[in-house]
């Protein structure tokens, strides 16, 4: 077994063969691509920096624990949309939408709620994140994504 640098190794420990040096960059290149994708999704699609492989954990309070998802339905005759609780069978979808609130995910959620609330004229899905005042730590909810899905006329 090896107990010292191989003859093929350059001084300083790097692989001597050019092909080997290129191979060594494959996984790090994967990390770089992942980081770019992550940054794009955080800035463009509301992904939480804690998720998606960008190594933003423990850098910000914008994570699932401090995000809120609100569901509400418009009923005939009601002046305001009425808040509805999250059905237990939709908890995973709700978590997914909180962490990465894309329109397709919010729409899918709205459709599931609409199916469970046949009398609703429309379903509102809203995702908010919490920002804290640096001086007082007062929490302020900030809208991140919202969707109103009008149901078909029944």
């Amino acid at each position: 077994m090896e107990d010292g640098p191989s003859p093929e190794r350059k001084a300083g420990g790097r692989p001597a063969a050019r092909g080997d040096r290129v191979r060594a960059l494959v996984a790090p290149a994967g990390l770089a691509l992942l980081a770019l994708l992550h940054l794009g999704l955080v800035l463009g699609a509301g992904l939480s920096p804690w998720n998606g492989g960008g190594f933003g954990m423990f850098s910000t309070l914008d994570h699932e624990g401090w995000r809120t998802l609100r569901l509400a339905v418009e009923r005939p005759g009601a002046a305001e949309p009425e808040r509805v609780p999250v059905p237990p069978e939709l908890l995973r979808e709700v978590r997914r939408a909180k962490v990465h609130p894309t329109r397709p995910l919010l729409r899918r959620l709205a459709l599931r709620i609409a199916a469970a609330q046949p009398e609703a004229r429309a379903v509102h899905v809203e995702v908010l994140r919490t920002r804290f005042d640096p001086a007082t730590l007062e929490a302020r909810r900030e809208p991140l994504a919202a969707l109103r899905h009008a149901t078909e006329a029944r």
């Binding site: 077994m1 090896e2 107990d3 010292g4 640098p5 191989s6 093929e8 190794r9 300083g12 420990g13 790097r14 692989p15 001597a16 063969a17 092909g19 080997d20 040096r21 191979r23 060594a24 960059l25 494959v26 996984a27 790090p28 994967g30 990390l31 770089a32 992942l34 980081a35 940054l39 992904l47 939480s48 920096p49 998720n51 998606g52 492989g53 960008g54 190594f55 933003g56 954990m57 423990f58 850098s59 910000t60 309070l61 914008d62 978590r95 997914r96 962490v99 990465h100 919490t130 920002r131 804290f132 005042d133 640096p134 007082t136 730590l137 007062e138 929490a139 302020r140 909810r141």
Partner: protein, 302 residues
């Protein structure tokens, strides 16, 4: 004694610069297969166990290709819930797979591991100092120390709180968030010890992560690069004492062992020690023991 007359090294497994990190990586895959569903977990456990039990499979590209597949597909299927170290686990499998086809597998894996560690810490540093809106002003740690149960022990040990005062503070803080008022309106003042601790953690974490990134990305042979193992071990031994993210700590141990120069056996052994330290931190209730020994006065003087 070998035919050449030289003594065989003690702990030959540690002397083999490629086998040890591969075995560490397989141990991580085996022991940290904390995945939500059995059909995700079992293939990883089975393949990792085979790699450890059958020496011929340790350097098999087929095995590592199968492992890569087994750990990578859940990243898509379970999107976006996977932790950061789940991605790093897949990247480590990719690095091993690609390196095993190289002329010098150890040097190739060592290079890849160094870039991976440097890259991960560079990203972590960038998020903290450049991209996050609430890190550098101390808000992140002030809120986290009062609300995240993973930091409760630290808040008690070094923030001047007691277990009871922490639980009361956490409940009050969350009520303040729900009611949309400052915590002070409900009688909660952030203890001075917690404020000081928040600043120390803010600055220390950013500094050590930046230092690790710089050391691992610096050209080999420079003084900064020679300090990289000490810096990474310092980061791991201080961080995982409280943030017991076992999988990440173990992956750093495997990557660290992979990039150590072949002749530096003691440093490789140090990464094996880190592997055990991470689990000791997690398993042994040393925080509670230390608080009791300090006389339940709320931890170290805040």
């Amino acid at each position: 004694m070998s035919a050449a007359g030289a003594a065989s090294p003690r702990l030959p497994e540690v002397a083999d610069p490629l086998a040890l990190p591969l075995r560490l990586a397989l141990l991580v895959l085996l022991l940290d297969a904390v995945m939500p569903f059995w059909f995700v977990r079992l293939p990883v456990i089975g393949l990792a166990a085979l790699g450890l039990l059958l020496p011929d499979l340790l350097r098999s590209r087929g095995l590592w290709a199968a492992l890569l597949l087994a750990v990578a597909w859940p990243l898509l299927w379970n999107w976006p819930f996977s932790d950061n170290h789940d991605y790093l686990r897949a990247l480590l499998c990719l690095a091993v797979l690609v390196s095993l086809g190289a002329r010098d597998p150890h040097a190739t894996l060592a290079d890849a591991a160094r870039w991976l560690v440097g890259g991960v810490f560079l990203l972590a540093t960038l998020w903290k100092v450049a991209l996050s809106p609430d890190y550098l002003d101390g808000t992140f740690f002030r809120v986290t120390l009062l609300t995240d149960t993973r930091f409760e022990n630290l808040a008690v040990l070094a923030g001047g709180m007691t277990w009871e005062s922490w639980e009361a503070a956490e409940a009050t803080f969350r009520r303040a968030v729900v009611e949309g008022v400052p915590p002070a309106a409900l009688g909660l003042e952030v203890p001075a010890g917690v404020r000081r601790l928040a600043w120390v953690l803010t600055l220390w974490t950013a500094a050590i992560e930046a230092a690790v990134a710089a050391a691992f990305l610096a050209p080999r042979g420079r003084a900064l690069s020679r300090a990289r193992d000490a810096l990474l071990l310092a980061f791991a031994l201080t961080t995982f004492a409280f943030a017991t993210v076992r999988g990440f700590g173990w992956l750093l141990a495997a990557l660290g062992a992979a990039q150590v120069e072949p002749e530096r056996r003691r440093t490789r052994l140090a990464y094996v020690g880190l592997f055990f330290a991470v689990e000791l931190y997690r398993s042994v209730p040393w925080h509670q023991t230390l608080v009791s020994w300090l006389g339940r006065t709320g931890g170290l003087p805040g």
